[in-house]
Symmetry: C2
């Protein structure tokens, strides 16, 4: 029997998963990513994680065709090189070759947002009928992935789609990428939290301030949305601004790609139906063509495991 093995190397942890031939996860294991110890150490630890998972499940190397790897940053899928990943401190790291050397399996490498998209695509119950699929991951940043006719679309150089760095406000705030008004400036998780903390600090009788236990470090996305739902005015300003740019960003995704299905995932998005309903409102507002069928919006179903699924299935026949 054949199995699929995938690893999701993140800025804080590295998680490996073993899938059966039908794509169901049998087991999972994770370790911290020691980002300050360098690529060689990360590779060795990842190899150990994989060996230990395979051993625990009684899987032999001959039962695996490849190892799938998801990793943040810019990835050259053809050469297996991580060109740049700021939160791993990687610059031109030949990750596929290094892992192949340790693990003895062919390695398929892909950007982590693309892996998450691929994972959610595989999880669609009606995948066979979905000709185009877009995923937006609202996490630390804003990740995007697109699949057309079963093929992951990454641009000719592996760097697309990067809708998180499309301009929404050419005269807006400065982004880490040095341009102004990128979607990520407004809708990255850290942007939401920073705006929430600033709002809480500026108004010590706000619910925001109270919910944080008067310790701004404890104020996260969930607490900000909670304060907003309870009618806090300061939280309202923060959340409304977030949702305003979320809508505009979704509008750009729609006008660029018009995907049949749009899935919204990532930690920030887990607020009941809020992000689904808001995306539907954005489509009604922004889609240039109102007289044709419109994109279906869905909630991601794999949570933080989407990236492991997608990595494991990188080489699966679609």
């Amino acid at each position: 029997m054949k199995y699929f093995l995938g690893v999701d190397i993140g800025g804080t942890k590295t998680a490996a998963g073993l899938l059966d031939a039908d794509g169901h996860m049998l087991a999972e294991k994770e370790i911290p990513t020691l980002v300050h110890d360098g690529a060689e150490r990360i590779v060795r630890n990842t190899a150990q994680l994989i060996s230990s998972l395979a051993e625990q499940e009684g899987i032999k190397k001959s039962q695996l065709s490849y190892l799938g790897v998801g990793c943040p940053g810019t990835v050259n899928q053809k050469t297996g090189v991580v060109e740049y990943a700021n939160n791993l401190y990687f610059e031109h790291v030949p990750l596929a070759d290094m892992l192949n050397h340790e693990v003895g399996l062919p390695v398929l490498l892909e950007n982590d947002a693309n892996c998450a998209g691929l994972g959610e695509y595989w999880a669609l119950p009606d995948r066979e009928e979905v000709e185009s699929f877009f995923m937006v991951t609202l996490g630390t940043g804003v990740g995007t992935a697109f699949i057309w006719k079963g093929q992951l679309f990454t641009g000719f150089n592996g760097a697309a789609p990067e809708m998180g760095h499309c301009t929404l406000n050419a005269e807006g705030e400065l982004c880490d990428c040095k341009n102004r008004g990128c979607w990520e400036v407004y809708c990255a998780g850290h942007a939401l939290v920073r705006a929430g903390r600033e709002a809480a600090k500026s108004c010590s009788d706000s619910l925001l301030w109270e919910l944080s236990g008067k310790d701004l470090e404890k104020l996260d996305g969930n607490l900000i949305f909670q304060a907003w739902r309870q009618g806090d005015e300061m939280a309202g300003k923060v959340v409304e601004r977030y949702l305003y740019y979320y809508r505009a960003g979704i509008g750009n995704v729609i006008n660029a790609f018009q995907p049949q299905v749009l899935t919204i995932g990532g930690g920030i998005s887990r607020q009941g139906r809020l992000f689904i309903d808001t995306a539907n409102a954005a489509i009604a507002e922004y889609s240039y063509c109102k007289t044709v069928a419109q994109t279906q919006v869905r909630q991601a179903v794999l949570g933080t495991k989407a990236g492991i699924y997608g990595a494991a299935l990188l080489g699966a026949k679609r």
Copy 2:
């Protein structure tokens, strides 16, 4: 011998072209589009134009496999219906069926910007090596087309890519589509001309005013660029704003699609190397991933005939 026949139905004229089996244009003919006379009259006139072209060239119906038609607005490629085309006053017009009835050939229908993209794609001398191709047409509006692995990408509903209505400035000017700060608000030909006329009117000792022969109706895009090149301050403001948003729009195209080749066409873009050099500058400025290969920018080569070529080749094997 087989031939290709294509028609480009525009808001002012309708042009038909006959191509040989190698895709070279043998003959072309055009008539005015009588947009106020309704779809039936337009269809009859188009059918007559085609018959007259075929007759003139001695082509029989049996030498044609289909008629390719390009048309502005939202087109349903599957049903052959023009859902909405404001400058033809079309709403839910079954154009393919109507033309098929008159002409007796299968009709393939596509949006005109997509046809222009397809025409320029066919004209690439290195087409076989180009895995992804994007075209921006700077004409009356901002048209966009994308081809991946030889396939025209139109979104699941036929309405993509519509980058002209992606938001560049969420708090910007109101667009005809009712959203704010679309690329088209800043970079449509009529936006440029309007801004030029306003600038000329506001300053009667400007070169802009002089070049227009003191008749603002005569001020077009070419004269605005001419005044800018001659150092006119008012024209400078208009052109610099235009190019600022042109850069931002190109940035969004790049981050969304990362095409191998980006072709710039349309009447506004014929200013020497200005639009090519500016697009290259935009890529250097906006492309999120600087460490990978970057898009090649090229000038369109087919001029106003790109749409006829693309329509004629809609059913050609790519």
